[in-house]
């Protein structure tokens, strides 16, 4: 494989490439591409706005969507997503911040009677605990009002490596540590209905409560594919040009190695010449969906078909595991097979997705 100067041979990016250096490089690529083709600015947001978190939000407290103005945002104002640690909660106010952060860095959000929360099950917002890691979706029209809160939510999507009577070890790709999933007896039946083959080599996708050492699996995020991870069925052939808009399922992943609150999307078909550094241990090269090859930095317009919200997001990685699924999302109607986007938590929430549902029906349009 030909290497660009000073590059790692395996890939054109490294884990954590969504940080400052990665964002700069992505912005640079947009500039260089524009210099060659000078495309209309319809789908190209201002490069500085792709990753730019609001100035008042620091590391640990996350970014919003749509600050790029009209170019970065195709529709009405999107609800903002904020992640952080619950510092205090009262019937009226939720305080989110970083426990080690400097004084004054925390954010306060009003709690209304409509605000709902999730921590393994639906609960009142006042039942949240200090120290919970929370993802907050703000009210779409009233900034400063919390609309929905997910506490300690986690997700494990990958290939089962080991399964004992007490826990499962799951491979999520080489850039992420092996995940341990514990399924409590109260959720075992529900999970086994959707995941009948809990054997090594098969895929699993479970949402639950994130603990310090393991994920307590509570909700099956999809139905298990009938094939082992290494035996993907072939997708239907595509003739002629690939359509501009591709529909499928959009999922989310936990921000391991990514800056908190980063807006972006892991795309299932990165150029094979650059490889996929996040690949699973077994290194499955091709995903299920036949999608056009892109690179880190390409811009996708992701649309939530369930509520019509859409946003231009940069590709920040390869969806090493998501591309192995040929499932459908049934959040609103039945989507075509295959996962077309694996969003970061903040992007998923900002587009109106419910984290505990696992997916929404999506249509992506590639910025040409």
């Amino acid at each position: 494989m030909l290497k660009a100067r000073g590059e790692r041979g395996c890939c054109d990016r490294c884990a954590g490439g969504t940080g400052t250096a990665g964002a700069a490089r992505i912005a640079r690529r947009r500039l260089l591409k524009d210099a060659v083709f000078r495309p209309p600015a319809a789908l190209t947001p201002e490069p500085s706005d792709w990753f730019a978190p609001p100035a008042d939000i620091r590391a640990g407290v996350a970014a919003g969507v749509g600050r790029g103005g009209e170019t970065a945002q195709e529709t009405a104002p999107l609800p903002r997503a904020v992640t952080g640690t619950v510092l205090d909660v009262s019937p009226q106010v939720l305080i989110i911040g970083d426990p080690g952060g400097r004084p004054g860095s925390e954010q306060r959000f009003a709690l209304t009677s409509d605000a709902t929360a999730w921590r393994g099950a639906q609960l009142e917002a006042t039942e949240l605990h200090e120290g919970d890691r929370a993802v907050v979706r703000l009210h779409p029209t009233r900034r400063g009002v919390a609309d929905r809160i997910w506490a300690n939510i986690g997700r494990v999507t990958g290939t089962i490596i080991e399964h004992t009577s007490e826990f499962m070890v799951v491979d999520e790709g080489v850039t992420r540590p092996r995940q341990i999933v514990v399924i409590p007896p109260r959720a075992a039946g529900r999970i086994q209905v959707r995941f009948p083959t809990l054997q090594p080599g098969y895929l699993i996708d479970i949402i639950g409560l994130r603990g310090p050492a393991a994920l307590e699996g509570l909700i099956p995020a999809t139905s298990q594919p009938a094939y082992p991870a290494g035996r993907l069925p072939e997708a239907p052939l595509v003739s002629g040009h690939v359509p501009d808009a591709i529909s499928g399922s959009a999922t989310w992943h936990e921000p391991a190695g990514e800056p908190p609150g980063v807006l972006g999307v892991a795309y299932p078909a990165l150029d094979p010449a650059t490889g996929c550094v996040e690949d699973t241990a077994r290194g499955h090269c091709r995903g299920y969906a036949r999608m056009p090859y892109l690179a880190v930095g390409s811009v996708l317009l992701v649309r939530n078909d369930c509520n019509g919200a859409s946003c231009a997001l940069p590709v920040t990685g390869c969806a090493a595991v998501a591309r192995l699924f040929n499932d459908r999302c049934v959040t609103c109607g039945t989507s075509p097979r295959g996962r077309v986007a694996d969003l970061t938590e903040a992007s998923f929430v900002a587009l109106g997705g419910e984290l505990d549902r696992g997916c929404f029906n999506a249509t992506i349009t590639i910025g040409r």
């Binding site: 003739s239 690939v242 650059t274 056009p292 880190v296």
Partner: protein
């Protein structure tokens, strides 16, 4: 006529069985596992799928060969009857299994012909299986096959075979899939083109020759792909002594086609990222002037060759410190 119709079934059934076995084996070889099979094996528990798939493939191969072996005088009687009954039962069981598969797993293909049978089980697949079961059972008690006695009989036999093949093809969704695969050309967005190929194509291109003088390194500092284009960025310099030389980046966009790809280029200021004008190329001489110079060059080469011929063997050309008197031809050579 009826006997002829029954006789045609033997080679047809044999071909179907051996074809099914071969395509299943091809899939196993491609995927690298027996339990990756499609079709009714999905109805079995996980631990039984592999043995069932293997047994199915072996049975098809054995019956296909058996039908051929017992078609003539060699296996007449009980062996031929057993093989044909076995084939009939196999297709009957397959029809039942496909009905069950269609009800319980409507998204799965029948797997009858390996990778070609990925379409969900439909009425065509079911009809074909039932037709083949009927065909196999119709051969029970058939006398050993004989070569046709006349040309007319042979032609009729071929006609019946062709007609039945057409019916089976019409009932096979695999045929359409096979034709699509044969004539398939991948869109450029999905085509896998190694980066080395793009670099090689770029270095052979006119764009590269035109702009190579601006580059300060011949290894790209960045390279990525988007849809049908691969972008390569090289470091460079632009400007002159008067305006001052500035760092630049030359961006090439190479279309992902295997032969003679289209290439675009742009010059970008390295500091600002803004595109800048290409430096003016040296003015090219007029066409007639170039032709005239070409003639002079040919005359010069001829003169040089003649001098080489006149020089005696072993005599060295004049030393550099003893310059020969400059001729008009040499002045032209220096010019060129």
């Amino acid at each position: 006529m009826l006997v002829m119709l029954r006789e045609v079934q033997i080679p047809l059934l044999s071909a179907m069985l051996l074809g099914g076995c071969a395509t299943k084996l091809a899939r196993v070889i491609r995927v690298g596992s027996v339990d990756a099979g499609l079709g009714p094996t999905a109805l079995f528990p996980m631990r039984l799928r592999r043995p069932v798939a293997m047994a199915m493939c072996a049975l098809e191969c054995g019956l296909g060969l058996g039908l051929i072996a017992t078609a003539g005088q060699i296996g007449r009687g009980a062996p031929a009857f057993s093989v044909r009954l076995g084939a009939g039962l196999l297709f009957l069981v397959a029809t039942s299994a496909l009905i069950e598969l269609r009800a319980s797993r409507p998204d799965i293909g029948c797997g009858c012909f390996g990778d070609f049978s990925q379409a969900p089980v439909g009425w065509r697949t079911l009809s074909r299986s039932a037709l083949l079961a009927l065909a196999a059972l119709s051969t029970l008690g058939l006398a050993p096959l004989q070569p046709p006695h006349s040309k007319a009989a042979a032609a009729l036999l071929l006609g019946v075979l062709a007609a039945e093949l057409a019916v089976v093809a019409g009932l096979s969704p695999e045929l359409g899939e096979a034709l699509v695969k044969l004539g398939y050309s991948e869109p450029c967005e999905l085509r896998v083109v190694p980066s080395e190929r793009s670099v090689t194509a770029l270095r052979r291109s006119k764009q590269w020759r035109r702009h190579a003088g601006l580059l300060t390194a011949d290894v790209p500092v960045d390279m990525w792909r988007e849809l049908c284009w691969r972008y390569l960025v090289f470091p460079g310099q632009y400007g002159d002594r008067e305006t001052g030389e500035r760092e630049a980046e030359v961006v090439f966009a190479v279309f992902l086609r295997l032969r003679r790809p289209l290439i675009h280029a742009a010059l970008v200021d390295a500091a600002t990222g803004n595109p800048v004008q290409w430096p003016a190329a040296p003015k090219r001489a007029h066409f007639l002037s170039r032709v005239f110079r070409s003639f002079r060059l040919i005359r010069l080469i001829r003169a040089a060759l003649l001098q080489e011929r006149v020089r005696p063997p072993g005599q060295l050309p004049a030393e550099p410190d003893e310059p020969a008197p400059e001729t008009g031809a040499q002045r032209s050579a220096a010019f060129y």
